[in-house]
Symmetry: C2
Subunit: 458 residues, 2 copies
């Protein structure tokens, strides 16, 4: 099927990249009060001099552990033939996620799966570049059988089979061209998280709501969960600015127990939130199902997924009616192959996908996936939006283009995952020039002087 056989992966390089976002409380929520948006940044080099870039997002400390895990996985990748990988991508994916010793420290979750995502994302970027297409277009142009051949259906065959997935794609062939044209011209609807971080003052929130309203946004998400009085004030304030025709979503970032989530949300119901995001611990399928059931009469859905650790967890959330909005993440689970399996399960079980984005590179990546979903799988944007946060885009070579609150389909080949060389150099932790400056100014402690573990680039 694929012809780039003979292109060997020469080496794999990983760097610890961190941006000092905690200085301005960007990204602060009830659980994560001081994020330094970071990524483990992977480059695969081929003998043909084409490079693939992939990354996984973290929020600072811990990034060094993911970097270490990428190094541990790297012998499974280096020396492999890229064409052979793409010809049996599901097989390669299983090899990477099911190494007979490494799987013990997962399996398929946490650090090792975040590292897997960065590598797999780099391989997809490479594939798209070899085909000289943006990733979404690579997916759209594949025959259904080829696309589905990239997915490992192990452990999800009770929710969706390979044959069903192929049939879903075949059933949507008609109208693909018009839908593609629409994505290029109008784009995919976005909502903003940018106005409602917990660390922002009321004045900041007001100003930002007005700003994004003026830019054409019609859906706004605010963080809640630290203090009920504050939440009531904040929601009232935001509703006052955005009105009642626009959408409001709230996000608790896992702070509540099941019963507490239900009680708290009853208090916020008067503001008519479309969804409550991450009401409790991300592994609690049954807890989310209980919350979903309790909030349904109030017209509030449950949204979750950014910390859902693999396709088996997504399967259960979808089967149990525990999520009404499925928030895939591009690098929490094992890269494009596994994310595709979640899209098929969500389609089968009738749950709209609204990707998690923001951080470092998440907007850049998920736009490709959601555009694929629209063109090839669901054919609708009804009840669906891509999260938008206006941060760290300046560091990417091909950053997102959001116009009138829509993500315009990217044109450049690849998965939009390449950092600018100067950004990667400046923000490499702890040796990059920007970090050296910040250590010198005393803005952050220098880990090298404190016997704090760092994992250097290889």
């Amino acid at each position: 099927m694929y012809q780039d056989r003979g292109l060997k992966i020469r080496t794999l390089h990983v760097r610890d990249i961190r941006f000092p976002t905690s200085l301005e409380l960007h990204g602060s929520d009830a659980m994560h009060v001081d994020c330094d948006y970071s990524c483990a940044y992977v480059t695969v080099y081929t003998e043909g001099d084409v490079e693939g870039h992939g990354l996984t997002f973290t929020i600072g400390r811990g990034n060094e552990i993911v970097v270490a895990a990428v190094k541990s996985l790297s012998p499974l990748v280096v020396g492999q033939d890229a064409g052979q990988i793409f010809n049996d991508f599901a097989g390669f994916w299983r090899k990477l996620t099911n190494d007979s010793q490494l799987r013990w420290v997962g399996p398929e979750k946490g650090v090792i799966h975040l590292a897997t995502a960065a590598i797999i994302n780099a391989l997809w970027d490479l594939w798209a570049k070899l085909q000289q297409k943006p990733l979404w277009k690579l997916l759209v142009d594949m025959e259904p059988e080829q696309l589905v051949s990239t997915i490992d259906f192990r452990y999800i065959s009770d929710a969706v089979t390979k044959q069903e997935a192929i049939a879903m794609l075949k059933a949507m062939q008609e109208g693909k061209e018009e839908r593609e044209e629409r994505m290029i011209r109008i784009g995919y609807p976005a909502y903003t998280t940018q106005a409602g971080w917990l660390g922002y003052s009321n004045e900041q929130v007001k100003a930002l709501c007005s700003k994004y309203l003026a830019k054409g946004f019609t859906a706004f998400k605010v963080k809640v969960g630290q203090n009920l009085e504050d939440d009531l004030c904040r929601c009232a304030m935001v509703r006052e600015i955005i009105g009642w025709d626009n959408k409001l979503m709230v996000d608790a970032n896992q702070v509540w127990d099941t019963e507490q989530a239900i009680e708290w949300m009853k208090q916020l119901a008067e503001f008519k939130p479309l969804w409550i995001e991450e009401p409790t611990f991300p592994d609690d399928v049954l807890g989310h199902a209980t919350i979903s059931k309790a909030l349904k009469p109030l017209g509030i859905g449950v949204a979750t997924g950014e910390m859902c650790c693999n396709r088996v967890m997504f399967k259960q959330f979808l089967q149990a009616g525990a999520m009404q909005y499925c928030q895939i993440d591009s690098c929490r689970i094992g890269g494009v192959n596994e994310v595709l399996s979640v899209y098929f399960m969500a389609k089968k079980l009738g749950v709209p996908v609204c990707p998690h984005a923001g951080g470092v590179g998440l907007c850049e990546m998920v736009q490709h996936l959601q555009i694929f979903d629209y063109i090839c799988l669901t054919g609708t944007t009804e009840g669906r939006m891509i999260e938008f946060a206006d941060q760290q885009h300046e560091h990417f070579e091909n950053s997102i283009h959001v116009l009138h609150a829509h993500y315009i389909a990217p044109k450049m080949p690849g998965y939009s995952t390449a950092l600018k060389a100067e950004s990667a150099e400046a923000y490499e932790y702890p040796n990059g020039s920007k970090w050296e400056e910040m250590f010198a100014k005393g803005l952050f402690p220098d880990p090298r002087k404190q016997n704090v573990f760092v994992c250097q680039a290889n």
Copy 2:
């Protein structure tokens, strides 16, 4: 409550210890075909010169990532006052598991949680040594309120509350002394996994079954799942030797999808296995519930837990009727504090706990926990056993004492987690003397010569 305030934790040391068990296929199953039993070995040093040892078990590659994660967690421990930790152990546990940045690479699962377990286990070993008691006795002698104060009930309050846990302990005060005496004299029943590894020949399996039968064992576990014909032969062979009055359990180590598990086990039902262990992916609560329901009429229970990644997953397995035997592990979840929470939930929901053991140090640790369960919580060994595998015990300073297939309650202070100094030196990877010998003989490749990531001791 606790008086050792003023005892500062001076430093924390972690080593990558590996034993070359793959050379003889010990530990081989359908998923893990070449285990090198390993551990991330943590020592906490106090200003009072008392040391605490803790470890987390892995099966080889990947151990270096856990070592890296211990190093990343270490600044949260070093410099702390041990007495203050023990006075609010639940608070410290949450601090360690919910660092506002590190939690992103979990939360509470995989590498970061395995690392947490090693540290927490070292602190419990320290506490028991300071009190000059074996860990089980430290737990048994605590007031119910103090014991329960070590547990973080966040996210499990819908299954069990702090008050309920205290009440459970108070209800079992009567008879504690007799039960304690019984554990010292007769001990806790064990079953053996030692006879049935997949890599063993039929002759090995036969000889081992006879050996353990002669030692008084009445319950035997064999590995299944790679090939149905082989499984039928193996089960028939084992039944022939052990007879039908003894117990047979089978373990698939996650190889099946839900439907496949049910079909396969129908074929093995004629051998009357007590349980099927790990029939499918360890995160699949709903899948295990389906399998449990289908196998109930055949008299076969579902056992799982060794890869259940935290108390929230255990909660759901127990709530959903997805496990009939709860196999806690001493270091997959966050150490003694979190394991205790699972014991309380299991008691509340009426599911017997049969701990996972074997590997490196697991037998040494779980005996303490299960003996506590018998003396303080359930008061029965009915339907309960501790797994036993006869490996790596020679490397521990205070290894287990199994007599007539019973674990005799340990007498030495601590959590039985201290490795002999000479073993730790010889098997430290990759610089230990035994590893140098094996590299020189060509038995294993030397990672230092192959640009394979290693994480050296600090």
